[in-house]
């Protein structure tokens, strides 16, 4: 197999002149932003079968990067490489190199715990712990050494505010998180993830189980969170990718087909496969 050339932001992104409609700020920020995650030739095997094929991609800081593609194309699997959640599955083998902030995260001297503290994750199905709303957030904080007290309470409140949930739950912080609605639960999971101040937030189809209103809230939230966090989001919903992401990567059958500024992917994709997918001809 020949090595796939590394896809980075193509010159077209930088070439967009400022003042050229709404795309401009998006494109400009994509070019200006530093590279935070650098993946080169990443392949992943489940036992004998190869799920990811030599994927090279650069994820940029404080932007929203969307992974799109049909089911089973490996986008979620790839996302889980960034916080090494794939380690939990037996017989998984990762080849290639992923550098986050300049550190090879698959190197032998990496503490996975410290990695996951810096690379937070929100799952497809909201999974608040069967504890109170407060305890859900406090769990991660205590895990990383915070003691009970006003400081802890302050961070809990700040995180809930950050996830646009505070006003809805401030009067029932100590009732069970499982009593919240689906959208609230998902925002709680986001609050839980941002409470420990990660650098990167991985989101695996965070809104796919939610109704349109709850989805809209999550999307609004993502745009807000992008100011502080680097966000990588896997989504099936192409409108969602178009609405919230700065950069979009299209995966197909374990390969990265195209990676570019979102507006370009959706309006003027470089590859036929991408065009077919985003226009709904397959997938």
């Amino acid at each position: 197999m020949t090595s796939t050339p590394k896809i980075s932001i193509p010159p077209s992104a930088e070439a967009v002149a400022p003042g050229e409609t709404g795309e401009a700020p998006q494109a400009r920020s994509a070019a200006d932003s530093r590279i935070l995650i650098e993946s080169s030739d990443v392949s992943l095997f489940y036992g004998p079968s190869q799920a990811l094929k030599r994927i090279s991609i650069d994820i940029r800081e404080r932007l929203v990067t969307a992974f799109i593609g049909p089911s089973g194309c490996g986008k979620s699997t790839f996302l889980r490489c960034f916080n090494r959640m794939n380690d939990l599955i037996d017989h998984v083998r990762v080849q290639g190199r992923i550098q986050i902030g300049g550190h090879d995260i698959y190197s032998g001297d990496v503490d996975v715990i410290e990695l996951r503290k810096r690379v937070g994750m929100v799952f497809q199905k909201s999974n608040p712990f069967p504890k109170s709303i407060f305890e859900n957030i406090a769990y991660g904080l205590r895990l990383h050494g915070m003691r009970n007290g006003p400081e802890l309470q302050g961070v809990v409140e700040q995180s809930l505010r950050g996830a646009a949930l505070w006003d809805e739950v401030k009067d029932r912080l100590h009732s069970s998180a499982l009593g919240l609605s689906g959208g609230q639960q998902q925002r709680l999971c986001i609050a839980r993830a941002i409470a420990i101040r990660p650098q990167i937030l991985l989101m695996d189809e965070p809104a796919s189980a939610l109704d349109p209103i709850a989805t809209a809230k999550i999307e609004e939230l993502i745009l807000e969170l992008k100011k502080e966090f680097t966000i990588v989001i896997v989504t099936h919903n192409m409108q969602q990718a178009a609405r919230i992401s700065d950069l979009t990567a299209f995966f197909y059958l374990g390969e990265l087909i195209e990676y570019d500024v979102t507006t370009k992917i959706f309006t003027n994709p470089g590859k036929k496969q991408t065009e077919d997918y985003v226009t709904g001809r397959f997938g």
């Binding site: 799952f123 712990f129 769990y139 069970s176």
Partner: protein, 393 residues
């Protein structure tokens, strides 16, 4: 669009037969009823067993039974002077039995009564009905003793039926068993369900559950011969068979029960909780201890309660390894005797319908009541916990 072949399930009129009414399905109906009856019979069975046990013990509960050997004696002439009802009661017979006896038999019985009265009357306690509640539960200074004591001594001239020594014995053995078995089985359950590799789990789980297959008499034998000597050597206590040995042996009997149920409870906690915790930077252990265990607490609690029930009710192990001395003592290293062992050891020697026999049934009913109550309390507690966890309370 249409092909020539017709689908086997397709009709000319697609709605044909939709209003033919609910079809009878006799076999399904029958099976359903049968299963229904079987499940009901289980409940009825438990109820009937309790009724039977309680019925045998009822005279004691109602204060109608007496164990006093020295009662007011009616001399032989009384047979003619007293009323038949009085004689019948004096001889302890039912009216039918009394009517069936001829005069000679009655005279024999009267003489027998006199004989026994002569033999027993020397003891001042002979006139005491030891089946009254205060003798069953409170200390009493028996003749020949220098202080009030609680004594279970059913086979003696004065039948002493204080159940406190047996309760203490049961409690001691059970507590030792729980203290030994619960931490071990919970730790094993956490390890097997959360930490071990799937390969190891395939061996560990059936392995531990295999312990349940050991007959309790074998466990008792093991406790009696091997563990008793070993533990005595290690701890250096005096009496070889005691509550401690019995409790440890009993622990082996309940480990598979608590382990199995706790493991199931822990395994049934959704993996998404674990993933959520790990993604926040928990170690596997932190996720197991702080997230999975609290989430599984209702099931874990149920496991402990079932272990308690098994420990209270287990007979053979304690019968063999406890030393069987009904001593009131706080020390775990004194021989002890449990309720179950008492019933098993003594029931075969009692006279049917006599007070000792009834006393053992009272113990049985007590045992039943304790386990039933503990299960009931646990069940409601578990129910509340579950609701809390699900966010409904």
């Amino acid at each position: 669009m249409t092909s020539g072949t017709t689908h086997p399930l397709e009709n000319a009129d697609p709605w044909a037969g939709i209003r033919r009414g609910q079809q009878r399905r006799p076999v399904e109906w029958l099976v359903e009823r049968a299963i229904h009856a079987i499940s009901l019979s289980a409940i009825v069975g438990v109820f009937l067993i309790f009724i039977f046990v309680a019925r045998e013990a009822l005279p004691i509960v109602l204060g109608r039974a007496t164990s006093a050997s020295a009662t007011q004696v009616i001399p032989l002439e009384g047979l003619d002077t007293r009323s038949p009802a009085e004689i019948q009661k004096y001889l302890g017979l039912t009216p039918e039995q009394f009517a069936a006896l001829d005069r000679d038999a009655k005279v024999d019985l009267m003489n027998l009564k006199l004989e026994t009265a002569k033999g027993a009357s020397k003891d001042r306690d002979a006139a005491v009905n030891t089946l009254e509640w205060r003798y069953l539960l409170l200390p009493y200074q028996w003749s020949g003793y220098d202080k009030p004591e609680m004594i279970w001594q059913p086979v003696s001239s004065i039948h002493k039926y204080n159940i406190i020594p047996l309760l203490i014995g049961t409690l001691k053995a059970t507590i030792v068993a729980l203290l030994f078995a619960v931490p071990l089985s919970l730790a094993a359950a956490i390890y097997v369900s959360q930490l071990s590799s799937p390969r190891l789990k395939e061996w560990l789980k059936p392995g531990i559950e295999l312990l349940a297959g050991i007959p309790s008499v074998v466990l008792g034998f093991f406790g009696l011969l091997i563990m008793a000597s070993f533990l005595q050597e290690v701890f250096g206590y005096e009496s070889r068979l005691n509550a401690f040995v019995a409790g440890i042996a009993l622990g082996f009997a309940i480990i598979p029960v608590t382990f199995s149920i706790a493991e199931d409870a822990l395994t049934s906690v959704p993996g998404s909780y674990v993933h959520g915790a790990l993604a926040l930077g928990s170690t596997r252990w932190q996720a197991a201890w702080r997230i999975v265990l609290p989430a599984a607490i209702p099931g874990v609690f149920a496991a402990v309660v079932l272990g308690f029930g098994r420990a209270v009710g287990e007979t053979m192990v304690v019968l063999m390894a406890s030393g069987n001395a009904s001593i009131v003592s706080a020390s775990l290293f004194d021989s002890t005797r449990t309720i179950t062992a008492t019933i098993a050891a003594e029931l075969a020697e009692t006279v049917f319908g006599e007070h000792h026999y009834r006393m053992l049934f009272l113990l049985g009913a007590l045992l039943f009541g304790v386990t039933f109550l503990s299960n009931l309390v646990a069940e409601s507690f578990i129910h509340r916990l579950k609701k809390q966890l699900e966010g409904k309370a």
